[in-house]
């Protein structure tokens, strides 16, 4: 054991110094540049408070995870009981927890997306989805659109538009990228070798980019024609964020596999899932335990997620997201018109809103200045010149007005 094992860090400066030592100096500097150089200490509802007592209106919500706000009492209460009722469980076994949550998810997700495989991180569910599509169709190719962001694991990063991924050498093979919205390109590429077409119906990290409704319908038709499976990643757009339970309801196109993120538990337990059609489940019936995940389908997590889904059904946060989202987008668009040299565009849906600024530098300055004003926002990871606004879906009108006020003031500062 090293000496540092017994040392106790106390002050913020000490902890930052430890962070530089154990993680990296450049990581901490990155936080400083963005104005995110504080210690998260307390949180509730739509705000978080740092170790020095400053409160922020949280418009990151940990990348659209805290859809029901922080520390939802019902979910926390159930979690506390669940700790003593169950534990992780032996992951290879069926359990009542896993079965009951699966039933609930199948009731929550529209259409015939009735089957479930649990994961831990958003990327891991994408891995499972690509594997299921390949396994079921016995075809190799994965087709995706440009500008995607699916996670940091093997398949996910191979499909993502992610700076620096060439550092990792040869990634998953037989991946083809087509431009979003270009149906001719899709026609050329999607064919008899295509296992799946993978996309986020709204690209949260890429200025909330979407295509015309007709594009998705044509992609669906192409998939039906060729036998390819359509995978939607709704990690960030799901669970009411865009004004409906899932964004695919608004574009009128149903995927064969849907990825749902940590919003499943409203950010209280690391749990994600891929949800898919009964047809596809046939693959897991023939090949049981072919894709394993130790922490996936964690029995405590299942109980936490069940209560979270009850809370989603009770609070229907998509209604508030639709109303306040429309209001915010309208007001932000007006604000952008007055500051057209700083904000180039306002895009998004519901409470997933993206502001495009002139460049990455300005976006970082915006984050830092907004924090000083009491608003926590982050830049998009694909389009780094954007600011993504994604608060709790339960914010009040006054909080929406506060967002507008701070954005307005921040624009004067940068």
């Amino acid at each position: 054991m090293k000496n540092s094992a017994t040392r106790n860090a106390v002050s913020k400066e000490d902890i930052f110094r430890d962070a530089e030592k154990v993680f990296s100096v450049s990581y901490v500097n990155l936080l400083r540049e963005k104005g995110h150089d504080f210690l998260e200490q307390e949180y509730s509802g739509s705000t978080l408070t740092d170790s020095e007592g400053n409160s922020y209106l949280d418009c990151c919500a940990s990348n659209a995870t805290y859809n029901l706000g922080r520390m939802n009492a019902a979910i926390i209460g159930r979690f506390k009981e669940a700790i003593y009722e169950t534990d992780q469980g032996n992951f290879v076994m069926p359990s009542q927890e896993k079965a009951l949550l699966a039933r609930k998810i199948s009731g929550f997700v529209p259409g015939n997306l009735d089957c479930v495989l649990y994961g831990v991180t958003r990327g891991e569910s994408m891995e499972a989805a690509c594997k299921l599509a390949r396994g079921f169709t016995a075809r190799p190719e994965l087709v995706t659109v440009d500008g995607g962001c699916y996670g940091e694991s093997g398949f996910a990063i191979s499909l993502s538009e992610r700076k620096g991924k060439e550092q990792f050498g040869q990634l998953i093979q037989a991946v083809k990228v087509i431009p979003l919205g270009d149906i001719e390109a899709a026609r050329r590429v999607i064919g008899q070798k295509t296992a799946a077409v993978v996309m986020e119906p709204i690209q949260a990290e890429n200025n909330c980019r979407t295509a015309d409704k007709s594009y998705y319908a044509r992609i669906r038709a192409l998939c039906d024609k060729t036998g390819a499976k359509l995978i939607f990643d709704e990690t960030q757009s799901g669970f009411g964020r865009t004004g409906t339970r899932f964004f695919f309801e608004q574009i009128g196109v149903k995927p064969d596999i849907l990825i749902i993120g940590e919003a499943l538990t409203s950010g209280i337990f690391p749990m994600t899932a891929m949800v898919f059609t009964p047809e596809l489940k046939g693959f897991f019936d023939i090949h049981p335990l072919i894709h394993l995940c130790t922490f996936g389908g964690h029995d405590i997590g299942c109980l936490v997620a069940m209560t979270a889904l009850d809370e989603y059904n009770r609070l229907k946060p998509w209604e508030n997201a639709a109303n306040l989202g429309d209001y915010l987008i309208k007001e932000l668009t007006a604000l952008a018109a007055k500051n057209s040299q700083k904000i180039f565009s306002v895009t998004g849906k519901g409470l997933l809103i993206s502001l495009r600024l002139a460049d990455e530098n300005l976006a970082l300055k915006f984050c830092a200045a907004a924090r000083k004003g009491g608003l926590l926002v982050n830049t998009g990871s694909v389009d780094t010149s954007t600011i993504v606004i994604r608060p709790s879906l339960l914010i009040k009108k006054e909080e929406a007005d506060k967002i507008l006020d701070i954005v307005n003031k921040t624009l004067q500062l940068i």
Partner: protein
């Protein structure tokens, strides 16, 4: 059925849960586990045991979710820590620092040997494996990776490519090119494969899923030397071997070899909240890379506030109780006991292998795996054969097990082996006919045959229902 958990289940309720699981998750999985009598519904998870909600019988947990329960199941210290933490914490914000995150990472690094001082927090073993391989590839600027045959590192893109068993990969090709498989414990093969194109050598000090194969000291020291000579990153997968399982905090300590990168998960979670980590050496090549690419592996649900609070409590518990010493002591007795059983039954046991409380029995035939699981299940021992090697039964009980529990377990295993002799009297002569042995070893044949037997058994048991007592 409501959303409430049943403390006990009657067969009707169990059938309903099975149907739900089959409808929404996988029928195949239900049938596969049922055929080996592994389809218990775990309740009252305490220490080294759980009870089956249907029969009410108590089982020793010899799998521990592949080594997740090193602090014991339902450990009240860990449970209470999590409960109290829930007054103030959730996952925290991805990418933002908190005292809990920094404190855990610092504590973990302090418990690692040598200059393994730097940490990347992750969410799971596969996630951490991906992080470790990305770090090695990024820092060396090389593409290729050497891994071992039978290895098991996970199911996401990087770790799946690194797995040493085709079964897990064949249906999902093409994966990442440049992964070379070498025979475990064969240094000459590594020497032939090593070169300036190799970014990393990845291995588990004790192959778990592969069938409990223990790396030799010469092999590990040899690997270190080959890596040093060729600028290759040596990566240890301590997901199953870490946190005391093998008799020391880390298996690497027993070899006196420090890898450049190691990754871990499972027991770090205390069995209650997922977490994982990559730990790497503070050497210029690695730190330069990470300083230039601080976001090379950002794990969204890795290193959460709650996860770090729980994992810190797990580390404190292990250190305070020196749980690895118990793993060493109980492990020695367990292994000796199994060896005695093996000597008394040369007809069915081929070998006993292991380190600490990570022990495997290899049978002479593959089909014995499912049979033995069934015989053990009937004697209150829940043990899983290796998916990768069905002839190997894995014994990974929570390492908090007492010596009395180990003795009791050995008695039950001994009984089970004796019980199996009756089956073998019948099966063995047939198993010597090559065609039939192939048939017996076929997992699909086993699923159909054993499920049929269970159906017949359930039918007769159904005629004489046993009343189950509710235990507190």
């Amino acid at each position: 059925m409501s959303d409430k958990l049943s403390v006990t289940m009657n067969t009707k309720e169990r059938d309903y849960i099975q149907r739900l699981f089959g409808k929404h998750i996988s029928w195949g999985q239900v049938r596969y586990l049922r055929c080996a009598h592994l389809d218990a519904y775990e309740r009252s998870r305490k220490g080294t045991t759980f009870t089956d909600a249907v029969s009410g019988e108590r089982f020793y947990d010899c799998f521990s979710s592949a080594g997740c329960f090193n602090v014991g199941r339902g450990n009240t210290v860990i449970q209470d820590t999590l409960r109290d933490a829930l007054d103030d914490y959730d996952m925290g914000s991805h990418g933002i620092l908190s005292e809990a995150k920094v404190a855990f990472a610092t504590k973990l690094a302090a418990l690692c040997p040598g200059d393994l001082n730097k940490v990347v927090l992750c969410a799971s073993g596969a996630d951490a494996c991906a992080g470790a391989i990305k770090l090695a590839k990024g820092a060396t600027g090389r593409n290729d990776v050497i891994t071992t045959k039978k290895a098991y590192h996970g199911h996401e893109g990087f770790s799946l490519s690194a797995n040493g068993k085709d079964y897990y990969k064949d249906l999902f090709l093409p994966l990442m090119p440049g992964f070379h498989m070498v025979t475990f414990n064969d240094l000459e093969e590594v020497k032939r494969a090593a070169g300036k194109n190799i970014a990393a050598i990845v291995l588990e000090p004790v192959q778990g899923e592969g069938g409990i194969h223990v790396a030799t000291k010469e092999y590990m020291k040899g690997l270190r030397k080959i890596c040093d000579e060729n600028g290759i990153m040596l990566i240890f997968d301590e997901v199953q071997t870490g946190f005391g399982r093998t008799g020391t905090m880390w298996a690497m300590e027993q070899y006196g070899v420090v890898p450049d990168i190691m990754f871990t998960a499972k027991s770090i979670s205390g069995g209650v909240y997922p977490n994982g980590a990559v730990v790497y050496r503070e050497i210029k090549q690695l730190t330069d890379y990470v300083e230039a690419n601080p976001l090379f592996h950002t794990s969204h649900s890795g290193g959460t506030d709650l996860g770090c609070i729980v994992s810190s409590a797990v580390l404190d518990y292990l250190v305070k109780n020196k749980v690895w010493e118990n793993a060493a002591k109980a492990g020695k007795r367990f292994k000796d006991g199994l060896n005695e059983i093996a000597r008394a039954n040369p007809g069915c046991v081929k070998e006993v292998r292991g380190m600490g409380l990570m022990i495997g029995i290899e049978y002479k035939y593959e089909f014995i795996g499912a049979l033995m699981a069934d015989c053990l299940g009937r004697r209150g021992v829940w043990a899983v054969f290796s998916g990768n090697a069905p002839q190997v039964m894995r014994f990974q009980i929570p390492i908090t097990a007492s010596m009395d529990e180990v003795e009791d377990l050995l008695r039950r295993i001994n009984d089970a082996v004796k019980g199996m002799r009756w089956y073998l009297l019948f099966m063995m002569p047939l198993a010597h006919i090559p065609f039939l042995q192939k048939l017996f070893d076929n997992v699909h044949v086993q699923i159909v045959a054993f499920n049929l037997l269970r159906d017949i058994e359930d039918f007769f048991l159904g005629l004489f229902p046993k009343k189950q007592e509710v235990k507190a």
